[in-house]
């Protein structure tokens, strides 16, 4: 019971207080612990967390299949995907490469031709230059997943250089090298699936904004107007909206604001028309059609930038300060053992 209940609390309190006060203690070993050792501890624990997370995911999916829970068929796919990633990461490197030594300078063009049969060559001249500068030892810029395909290519190019050596990229590096089995899995399976999921958002955003962006009250109207300005202002098409459209919209906006204070609709209509005419006359007099003369308030991109820089920054700052205060309070509760999320 002590190990399960009290021990974690003691560790959390002592480590928490030590790290917190360590910042104010100017003693080298303490600073070393706070700045280096503690972060390495965190790093090690985070690595274990990934391992535990993967095992937990596997356990949940296997249980789902065994118990034939709802949509268990999809779990088979998850397990197969997991097993394939483990295979490509830990058991099969699939990263064979070929190195040519003492290449005959007369064979460089032939070599580039052979390389272009297995790998897209974007700039032939650049590749020729690269090979010519490494005639003594040149690694073919192509990773072969299977050893047999590497051997076939090695036989093909064997006459172009004195020595042809086959190698396999080291463990660890093989997951990152372009062309290996793991990288194939990432770029050919994970990337398109992930991009598709994210791209679907565009359709849902369009449908959701059509339904949800309604002028129900003042706040909703503000949100709607700001949203539209940002949507148009952040893309190049915003530049094409002329000043007179923006000025007219501003006059309408002011009209909407003052409407409740003017019961006579004729007077309101007159004021709006006067506003539009006045802004148009001013625009013609000061030649606002020239970008350099256009006041910032009549340019949608400028308004969108202003929204980002002031109202958005102010709102975000308020939220951040609130979150920071919340984190301080929660941290204290954890350090003092009042809250035990662990």
């Amino acid at each position: 019971m002590f190990l399960k209940r009290q021990m974690p609390v003691i560790i959390a309190i002592s480590v928490g207080l030590f790290i917190l006060f360590g910042h104010f203690i100017n003693i080298a070993p303490v600073q070393q612990f706070v700045n280096n050792d503690a972060t390495q501890w965190f790093d090690i624990i985070a690595s274990f967390a990934i391992f535990l997370g993967a095992l937990n995911m596997l356990k949940l999916q296997v249980l789902k299949v065994v118990k034939k829970q709802r949509n268990w068929q999809y779990s088979i796919l998850a397990i197969v995907g997991f097993a394939f990633a483990i295979f490509a990461g830990f058991f099969f490197r699939g990263a064979n490469y070929i190195t040519l030594s003492d290449i005959d300078p007369n064979n460089v063009n032939q070599l580039v031709e052979y390389i272009s049969t297995v790998q897209e060559v974007k700039d032939t001249a650049l590749m020729v230059k690269g090979i010519e500068s490494s005639l003594a030892s040149y690694e073919i810029p192509k990773i072969f997943i299977s050893k047999s395909s590497a051997e076939d290519f090695a036989i093909l190019v064997s006459g172009l250089a004195k020595n042809v050596t086959l190698g396999v990229k080291p463990w660890g590096a093989h997951v990152q090298i372009e062309g290996s089995l793991f990288s194939w899995m990432f770029f050919k399976i994970f990337t398109p699936l992930s991009s598709t999921m994210f791209a679907l958002l565009a359709f849902f955003v369009a449908s959701a904004s059509y339904r949800a962006f309604r002028i129900r009250n003042f706040e909703a109207t503000l949100l709607l107007v700001a949203g539209i300005i940002l949507m148009i202002g952040r893309v190049p098409i915003g530049e094409f909206i002329p000043w007179w459209v923006v000025s007219t919209l501003i006059v309408f906006g002011i009209g909407a604001l003052i409407a409740p204070m003017i019961p006579d609709k004729k007077i309101l209509f007159g004021l709006i028309v006067t506003g539009i005419v006045l802004s148009s006359v001013l625009g013609i007099i000061f030649d606002w059609s020239l970008a350099i003369n256009t006041p910032g308030i009549l340019s949608i991109p400028n308004i969108s930038e202003w929204i980002f820089d002031y109202p958005t920054a102010a709102g975000s700052r308020a939220i951040m300060i609130g979150i920071a205060l919340g984190i301080i309070a929660t941290s204290f509760r954890i350090i003092l053992g009042i809250e035990r999320p662990f």
């Binding site: 790093d43 339904r211 952040r234 190049p236 980002f308």
Partner: protein
């Protein structure tokens, strides 16, 4: 008048699949016929700031680029990465890459393979990829203190002490600039809080559009020197880099963000028109009590 009202109400209750089709077409047409939808790109003050900060770095300066995004956010951030590497390599600046996201490794590898050869940059001499470490802010803090406590080997398994450009680098204080390509947590915020602000290292960021609201207070506070917000920010930076490299006689093809801006513009216009249509229907049906909206 009644007919018009009926038309609007009928449009207001259109099937959602029709909206999906409209959005798909609005994206597809500019992609299929890019020549018909060429739009000029004007840089915002934030993108200009990023460009100016990078452009003032001297030759052989050391810049750390952190890759914190994956395939899902690649269309928004990867163009910024490519334009940034073009900018840095064209100025002969040394690039140190790390990843706080596991997917970031692949993004970094791809970005380097797309750009490095063009400038004849050599791995280990002009750029190095240290790879991914789990731990988020702990990794950032560790790098700020001593890079070797976090990384003993690079992404390819080479001992980092054997890498030429790592010899005179102990921690982040030895670097001149940090650029975070971020799509969430851990990302730009952690770089500001645990490295750049405490150590006084200048940094900029390229992030997703949705993140801008979180990052903008740091930009306003000058803790982050400019921000490339989403794909529009990437397109603006691509344009600035392209203009600068053109002036130096280096030809760079238009980047993916610039090409995709027409599609994004059209999609935004369609969404705005749908919102307006939705509100007209809402206004017309509000009084009559009928239910308008997507089915």
């Amino acid at each position: 008048m009644n007919l018009l009202k009926k038309v609007f109400i009928a449009l207001g209750s259109m099937d959602r699949r029709f909206i999906f089709l409209l959005v798909a077409l609005s994206v597809l047409f500019p992609k299929l016929y890019p020549d018909l939808f060429t739009l000029p790109i004007k840089p915002s003050s934030h993108s200009q700031r990023v460009f100016d900060e990078i452009d003032t770095l001297k030759e052989n300066s050391k810049v750390l680029v952190s890759f914190e995004y994956g395939p899902s956010t690649k269309p928004e951030i990867h163009p910024s990465a490519i334009a940034l590497l073009n900018h840095l390599f064209s100025k002969n600046i040394k690039v140190y890459a790390v990843a706080l996201w596991p997917d970031g490794n692949f993004m970094a590898t791809e970005a380097f393979s797309q750009v490095a050869d063009k400038y004849e940059k050599k791995y280990g001499v002009d750029y190095v990829n240290l790879g991914y470490k789990p731990g988020g802010e702990a990794v950032v803090k560790g790098l700020a203190s001593d890079i070797r406590t976090m990384y003993t080997v690079d992404l390819l398994g080479n001992d980092i002490d054997s890498i030429e450009m790592m010899k005179d680098v102990t921690n982040l204080l030895d670097l001149d600039f940090i650029f975070s390509l971020s799509a969430g947590y851990p990302g730009s915020k952690e770089w500001v809080q645990f490295a750049c602000d405490p150590l006084g290292i200048p940094m900029s960021t390229g992030c997703t559009s949705i993140q801008v609201t979180d990052i903008i207070p740091y930009v306003a506070n000058n803790q982050i020197k400019g921000i490339l917000s989403g794909m529009p920010g990437a397109a603006e930076y691509e344009q600035l880099v392209r203009n600068a490299l053109d002036a130096r006689g280096v030809m760079v093809e238009p980047g993916k963000a610039s090409i995709n801006m027409a599609a994004q513009s059209m999609a935004h216009i369609v969404i705005v028109l749908l919102i307006i249509l939705g509100n007209i229907t809402y206004y017309l049906t509000r009084k009559s009590g009928k239910k308008g909206g997507v089915q």
